[in-house]
Amino acid sequence: MDDLKDALSIFKKDLLQEWRSKAVTVATVFFASIVLMVLAFALGSNDTVLKIAAPGVLWVALAFAGIISAAQSYQNELEENALEQLLLYPIARSSIFLGKLLANWFYMSLLGFILVPVTSILFKAPLGSNWWLILVVVLLGTLGFSIISSFYAALTANLRARESLLPVLMFPIVIPILQAAVKASRELMTDNNPAIVFDWLQLLIGFDLIYFVVTLAVFHFIMEE
Amino acid sequence: MFNFSQWGWVLFAWGQLIAVYIAYQVYLTWRLKRLEDK
């Protein structure tokens, strides 16, 4: 349980860092707004089209946010060689991974909780009585995304061309997670078919579990000795 | 009944295999030659 406490310390440290600098907040709010606005303008003449696009718009904005947040979480450590210092502490590598993962997940789902009503309103996609289900979708989807993005952010942290490499490496892995999340969101926002959502939720849980285990298992191989 | 368009696609597909196999072998041989010269 020490490892968990260490992870939580890293989690709190990252959140505090973000609270002070607001670097990620600014960038992601900016990107999310652009995505929403451009797509709303492009599709806005037809309400049906807007409604169909709503779940996709939501997750595109979240995906941008997720990548920025993950890249930044290891970027912070590169300045002033903080990462080396961090690795010198007597904590398990996996705790670092877990802590940063928690921070990214927390941040991404917070954004998701805000974007859901915003997208729902702007894109004329009302949520109905099962609205709480979409929050579950956001939580599970952002978890899966954060697992992958945090992992690859750590992997590319010390590489040249890391900013462009992160999305290149992540993209094919993250497609199934995004797809399940969008499909589940669509059942709630566009088609109003809550029963099917549970199938997609099972899929998301499966992704999250398996990728969590795999990335945790190989994480210590990618950190410098 | 000779269906030309179908045969055309079939030969195109097999042609891809032949072309790529030859190209890759040429690449391997080139790399080998480069090593032998060192």
């Binding site: 040249r160 892995i173 099917i196 | 097999w14």
Partner: protein, 238 residues
């Protein structure tokens, strides 16, 4: 570097003959299919490279895991060889798959599950090579690219499931007919010709692998010698 051994050249020749035989079986001996007509003849080529391509990825991941476990660079070199040939076969799978798609479905691409999966696999492999290109230290390069390859293999089942359910509303209940049109009730002559071509493709793969692995091992030895020489040079100057 020692020249290619004679047995390898003989093997290559045998493989060439078998390939031509497989092609002959597919183009001449095979009867046309009831539903696909003459197009069945390209299925032999397409399925053969597809299966061998995915086998290659599994082998690459296996050697990657071996490298992480035993830190023997020979495994790293083998992993790279498997990955490189896997990319070649994946590319062939996509090209031949699109060639099958156009006359059958009318379009070159329709997000068919298996083709989409192969395209994702190809982009993952490209990512693997980009990562390798960015790291100079051999130990670190081997370690990090091994991790990438393991994740690549772990992602394949998910990518396949996602692609399969991409266009359906009820994923757990039912899904559309698999676009390759291959049914398990293929008559025996088709199955035999298909299996023959698959085995030949695997033999071609082995032929390529042996060559590519030899090249990799030799280049690694040369690299070691060269870096040693460099060190000696500095020492003399000092």
């Amino acid at each position: 570097m020692p020249k290619q051994p004679m047995w390898l050249n003989v093997y290559g020749f045998v493989v060439l003959v078998l390939f031509l035989l497989g092609m002959y079986l597919g183009l001449v001996v095979s009867p046309p299919d009831a539903s696909m007509g003459e197009l069945i003849r390209m299925i032999y080529a397409h399925v053969a490279v597809a299966w061998v391509g995915f086998l290659a990825v599994v082998l690459a991941a296996l050697h990657s895991m071996l490298f992480l476990w035993k830190a023997n660079f020979k495994d790293d070199i083998r992993a790279v060889a498997h990955a490189e040939i896997a990319l070649v076969f994946a590319g062939l799978t996509i090209a031949s798959g699109m060639t099958w798609s156009k006359p059958t479905l009318g379009v070159f691409w329709d997000w068919d599950a298996k083709l989409t999966l192969t395209a994702l696999l190809a982009s993952l492999l490209v990512g693997y090579f980009i990562v390798r290109g960015l790291i100079d230290d051999p130990e670190r390069r081997g370690r990090i690219s091994a991790v990438v390859m393991i994740i690549v293999m772990a992602s394949l089942p998910f990518n396949y499931m996602a692609a399969k359910w991409f266009r359906t509303l009820h994923p757990a209940k039912s899904y559309n007919v698999d676009a390759t049109g291959l049914s398990s009730t293929m008559s025996p002559v088709f199955v035999k010709i298909l299996l023959f071509n698959v085995v030949v493709a695997a033999m071609i793969y082995i032929y390529f692998f042996i060559q590519r692995n030899r090249i990799g091992q030799q280049e690694a030895e040369l690299f070691e010698k060269e870096t040693e020489l460099d060190v000696k040079g500095d020492f003399i100057h000092v």
